[in-house]
Subunit: 331 residues, 2 copies
């Protein structure tokens, strides 16, 4: 086994976030699912964009956000995801490469355009996401760079991308490539609706021992295990995955690994501006500690600190110097 070239390689949706502040009334008026992620088609995306206030565009995508955090902390990362050959595709590619992440998936020179996520941020800092997947869902299995996957300590996959057929096939191939090379597979469940659609697949992956590190929030834990009680969910799932990490918003996070358990509270914060990316950055902080062999609690603290930074401003990509921030907080 050669020395890994990457700490983490991820396959994810290549999305540009289009973010605007709004009042709760607009969420109701538009019939949006507050706090959730809804897939929308082109016509609905246009309708929502027309109703949206002045926006800002910031690169997003769940796994891509996680890599941006990892890279900011000093990890070597690579991303696989599909953009179209258009301006938003250029924006996504620029922003991910600008933080030092290798991104070599060629843009797709056909319709539909690059994915975008229309995000309405209410005064309570909650984000309501409406994703037009566009080119992202056409990531072909051939885009999978098995050599690169084999060259990373951890393969990181987002549940969101399990929905479209081609990327799902790419992810299955990636899991095989990672296991064949003796690498670890990390998976984030992403959203309750994804579990409702693909929970059987996810449970099978877990039962087959193909997931080494599983990220979930408390709602996803309940949806996957069928246990509405948090502790019952942890008890049901933790024996089946080597590392289980469950976040629960303002109540902090729990990790269980090899029988050991650690817990951290959420980091104190003056003002939550926009919760977009909180889970993605929690995963970034945790994974950074994990690939560096740090104790479970320190991994969780890193997750909490990264999540805290991301919710202090608009957008799901870090703005502060995460490395300096962690050095200051963790010593």
């Amino acid at each position: 086994m050669t020395e890994p070239r990457y700490d983490v390689i991820a396959i994810g949706n290549a999305i540009v976030d289009v973010m605007a502040a709004c009042q709760d009334e607009l969420i109701e008026e538009l019939g949006l699912s507050k706090g959730g992620m809804t897939l929308v088609d082109s016509a609905r995306a246009q309708e929502l964009y027309d109703a949206m206030g002045p926006a800002r565009e910031i690169s997003g995508g769940s796994a891509a956000n996680t890599l941006a955090g990892l890279s900011a902390l000093g990890a070597q990362c690579a991303f696989i995801g599909q953009v179209a050959a258009d301006q938003l595709g250029e924006v996504f590619a620029h922003d991910i490469r600008a933080v030092g992440i290798d991104f070599d998936t060629p843009p797709r020179d056909r319709e539909p355009p690059t994915a975008r996520c229309l995000i309405f941020v209410t005064p309570d800092a909650q984000r309501t996401m409406n994703t037009f997947l566009g080119a992202s869902q056409y990531l072909p299995p051939v885009a999978l760079d098995a050599e690169a996957v084999a060259a990373a300590k951890v393969l990181y996959l987002e549940g969101y991308l399990w929905d479209p057929e081609e990327p799902r096939a790419a992810m299955r191939r990636a899991i095989e490539a990672a296991r064949a090379a003796g690498r670890k597979v990390a998976f984030t469940l992403s959203e309750v609706f994804v579990i409702e659609r693909h929970g059987d697949d996810f449970r099978a992956l877990i039962e087959d021992g193909l997931i080494d590190i599983l990220f979930a929030n408390h709602l996803e834990l309940a949806a996957l295990t069928g246990e509405s009680d948090f502790e019952a969910g942890i008890a049901a799932l933790s024996p089946k995955v080597p590392v289980l990490v469950v976040t629960r918003s303002a109540e902090g996070a729990v990790a269980v690994a090899g029988g050991a358990r650690a817990e951290v509270p959420a980091e104190p914060i003056d003002k939550v501006v926009d919760t977009t990316g909180a889970g993605d950055l929690f995963a970034a902080g945790f994974l950074y500690g994990h690939v560096n062999g740090e104790p479970l609690e320190r991994c969780l603290r890193r997750g909490a600190i990264a999540a805290c930074e991301i919710i202090s401003h608009y957008g799901a990509r870090p703005e502060a110097d995460l490395r300096a921030l962690m050095a200051e907080k963790l010593g």
Copy 2:
């Protein structure tokens, strides 16, 4: 003379700002003119973008920013400017319409793409702008809606747009249309380099009595008048324009109108994040007061408050509720 339909109609560059934080070292390395605005061609724009950190895209353009501020305060506004039929053009059009501004210039269905301004923001909050004018410089004189110009109390023009030939012709036509309808013409000098190139044109417009309201900062005042002393510059220029407004960054602003003079300090602010748009929003606040017949000092206070809001965050479009902010500060 029919009742004006608009308070302010503006002709300006239709630009999307691409903004990233950077250290001073990068400004030097790239040979940028710190704090200034430099026009760049497509190749240089690509070179700078490649060197830029992860960015966010926020609609900009000097006169468009001013209108966004005016509209947020409750003024009726219209914008004339040229985007291309591409994604950034859609972003610009969405953002300006989303704040209630009429924008009917059809997108241009050819190369070059929509204008963008690559803005490097240093830790001192100074912005260094590099503008690829793209489609914006091809605003054709026929795009000028003379009927709409005649229907606005004030025609607002940015000096930046005096540089390319077609928009310059459009602006000259607009000035004629405004004067013929008995409307006022407001002009912002924009940048010292614009004055270096077109100072003779600007001085002729002023001598011919075609400018009713002139906006400048202290550097532009010196460049236009040839007077390095601030008071000498004011004394030289103020008799030639009915309303002269000169900002001087942290030292506040001065206005002279019909022999009367008013002065305000800059608004106190905790932390300046990004100075992009400070002058544009000063003009917005001032013009709002002016079209509503407010006293000179109150117009200046509005300018200072709007400028203070814009420098407290990234981007040159208001984020706070400017109307509420002014009600709170001005009573």
